[in-house]
């Protein structure tokens, strides 16, 4: 593969697919692509955070915060204010949660973030006067409700997320983040401002998850708490990023495409209840067969062609907690 093509490919793919689907104007493909893009944004957001060693099970929290923020701000202050509010509220929430969980190690961090998102769901249901409670809420409609423009907007968000992920994989950030993950004292002893870096990753992750949530809520202009504060929105990004290939930009993207496609197939084949069983089976099969994710597998194939790596041992080393 040409050296310049690989980094640009994700952007071309996103733009190309979006353009094609918008032109074709078939509702099924539009909705499918919207779903893929939203999931991909979440997966990228999760991966950005996990590069600093913060393995989150709380993406759903920010997803829901995004939805509810537009719902609460839009009627009062208009669309621009609503979307700005999403960014600000998610940033603040990320800073708070990030500081609270700063010293937590892997499993505890995951539990704490999971707990945070579960509490939010309950708290939202508990204050119906403010949040509409179990009855739901009306987020700001995205792009006037027109599906093709919604897809364009969401694709735009995905492009931003992709670019952010790529920036965080450049020389300035990638090694520093990995060092924080492996042994944060080592990073600090190399001059890396660990706390600031971790919080920054948290903020970016939270903002993108929130924006994805706001877009999701804006698809139909109505959601109930269970739609967005659902642990599925926490588990799927994790699964997709890992299966697609962690620590990359292409991995979460590819994973989102492949897994959402599989999910749709399974839904068609098995029906509404229990179709996710295929999901579970696929995850297990992937972990056994492709331990470095789809991207790892693809890279291996490409390497074999170009004989790049002198060491055939491609087994990933253990990431210590």
């Amino acid at each position: 593969m040409k050296r310049w093509l690989a980094p640009v490919l994700p952007y071309l793919a996103i733009i190309g697919l979006t353009a094609g689907i918008v032109i074709a104007d078939r509702p099924f493909w539009i909705q499918l692509m919207i779903g893929i893009c939203i999931t991909a944004v979440l997966a990228l957001a999760w991966d950005m955070l996990s590069r600093t060693g913060q393995v989150s099970l709380g993406m759903a929290a920010f997803f829901g915060i995004g939805t509810y923020t537009t719902a609460l701000v839009d009627p009062v202050a208009g669309a621009v204010a609503a979307w700005t509010a999403v960014v600000l509220v998610c940033a603040v929430a990320a800073i708070l949660l990030g500081l609270l969980t700063l010293r937590l190690r892997h499993m505890y961090f995951a539990i704490a973030t999971l707990g945070f998102s579960l509490s939010l769901q309950v708290l939202v249901t508990a204050f119906p006067d403010i949040t509409g409670g179990a009855g739901g809420v009306a987020p700001a409609l995205l792009a006037g409700g027109e599906p093709r423009w919604q897809l364009v907007a969401i694709s735009g968000l995905l492009l931003l997320a992709t670019a952010t992920s790529d920036i965080l994989l450049t020389r300035r950030f990638r090694p520093a983040f990995f060092m924080i993950r492996s042994k944060s004292e080592l990073a600090a002893a190399s001059g890396v401002p660990v706390v600031r870096s971790k919080i920054m990753a948290f903020i970016l992750s939270g903002i993108y998850a929130g924006l994805a949530g706001a877009c999701y809520g804006g698809l139909y202009g109505y959601v109930v708490p269970g739609d967005v504060f659902n642990s599925n929105w926490s588990i799927m990004p994790l699964a997709i990023a890992i299966l697609g290939g962690m620590d990359t930009t292409a991995g979460p993207l590819l994973g989102a495409f492949v897994l959402r496609a599989l999910e749709e197939l399974a839904r068609a084949w098995i029906g509404g209840i229990g179709y996710q069983v295929v999901y579970g089976a696929v995850i297990i099969a992937f972990v056994l067969a492709l331990p470095r994710g789809l991207i790892g597998f693809v890279t291996k194939l490409v390497r074999r062609d170009t004989k790049g790596d002198a060491h055939p041992r491609l087994q990933e080393g253990r990431v210590k907690s």
């Binding site: 509490s119 579970g280 990933e316």
Partner: protein, 293 residues
């Protein structure tokens, strides 16, 4: 505030805590020995619950025996799972391990949904013990049973780990698997042992679940999330700590659920908020110790 209502709430919560602790201790054991977070643990509980439920409703089998059967069944299933794919996962990256057990969990939950549907079932079992009356407080007999069995399970596990030869080997394997292997311990066998014991406790706990809670495919997920919280509160590696963690979580849940209007589902969320805060102050849980290498 009526003290007897507080008392009733707390004592009932205590009985449920016995169940929670039994579930959490299996998780703690598995994590302590294999360093793996078994997200599918709750699903073994759920399967155990269904087994006990079916045995009772179709064959009239006493739920205590049903729980024992569930325990053995889940022990066997765990053995199968370990030998077919889990042992391979243990050599993988941490993230792949999390994903693998998550995948297993999703697989089992959805299989259950397909087989038995999402509806909740109730096992109308007779009281195994007469209700306990303390003044104005009444504890249903079956609650007392789950408390006793739950605590026995946890105590049994602690005894096993501290006083038996296999327990010692398990602790060796958990402390430093590489070193243990060099001293001749069959580490793989020890990992398998911890997993099947975990499965056994999950199965028995499932039987207890059928006794006092609704039986449905998602009951395991609900419970295992609480189990994680308990493990975090009590501190990883401390099986006994899970008793205290369970008591705290259950009490918090029940108190909020009883005394806050409309707080029925609050308890869950408030309890979790508590955990986030506890972990913020004590990052290793209330009784956690520095993790061994």
């Amino acid at each position: 505030m009526d003290l007897s209502v507080v008392g009733q709430t707390l004592l009932l919560a205590l009985t449920i805590a016995g169940l929670y602790a039994a579930i959490a201790s299996g998780l703690t054991l598995e994590f302590g020995v294999m360093r793996i977070v078994n997200f599918a643990h709750g699903e073994f509980v759920m399967l155990g619950a269904f087994i006990t439920y079916f045995l009772e409703t179709r064959y009239g089998l006493n739920p205590l025996f049903g729980a024992a059967v569930s325990g053995v069944a889940m022990l066997t299933l765990s053995w199968l799972v370990y030998d077919t794919f889990l042992w391979r996962i243990l050599r993988e990256d941490e993230h792949n391990q999390i994903l693998a057990t998550l995948g297993l969990s999703i697989l089992i939950v959805n299989l259950a949904m397909i087989l038995w549907g999402p509806d909740a079932r109730v096992m109308h079992a007779p009281d195994l013990l007469p209700p306990l009356r303390l003044g104005a407080i009444t504890i249903p007999g079956n609650n007392t049973v789950i408390f006793i069995v739950g605590v026995l399970l946890v105590a049994g596990l602690v005894f096993f780990m501290k006083q038996t030869r296999y327990g010692l080997l398990l602790r060796l394997a958990s402390d430093d698997a590489t070193l243990a292997a060099y001293t001749g311990v069959n580490v793989n066998a020890m990992f398998r042992l911890s997993f099947i014991i975990g499965g056994f406790t999950a199965g028995v706990s499932g039987g207890l679940v059928a006794l006092v809670l609704y039986v449905h495919p998602l009951v395991g997920t609900d419970l295992v999330i609480r189990a994680f919280a308990i493990v975090a509160l009590g501190g990883l590696g401390s099986i006994g700590g899970s008793l205290i963690g369970a008591a705290i979580l259950s009490a918090a849940e029940s108190l909020v659920g009883t005394f806050v209007p409309g707080g029925g589902s609050w308890g869950y969320g408030i309890a979790f908020l508590l955990i986030v805060i506890v972990l913020a102050v004590r990052p290793l849980g209330l009784f956690g110790s520095e993790q061994r290498s």
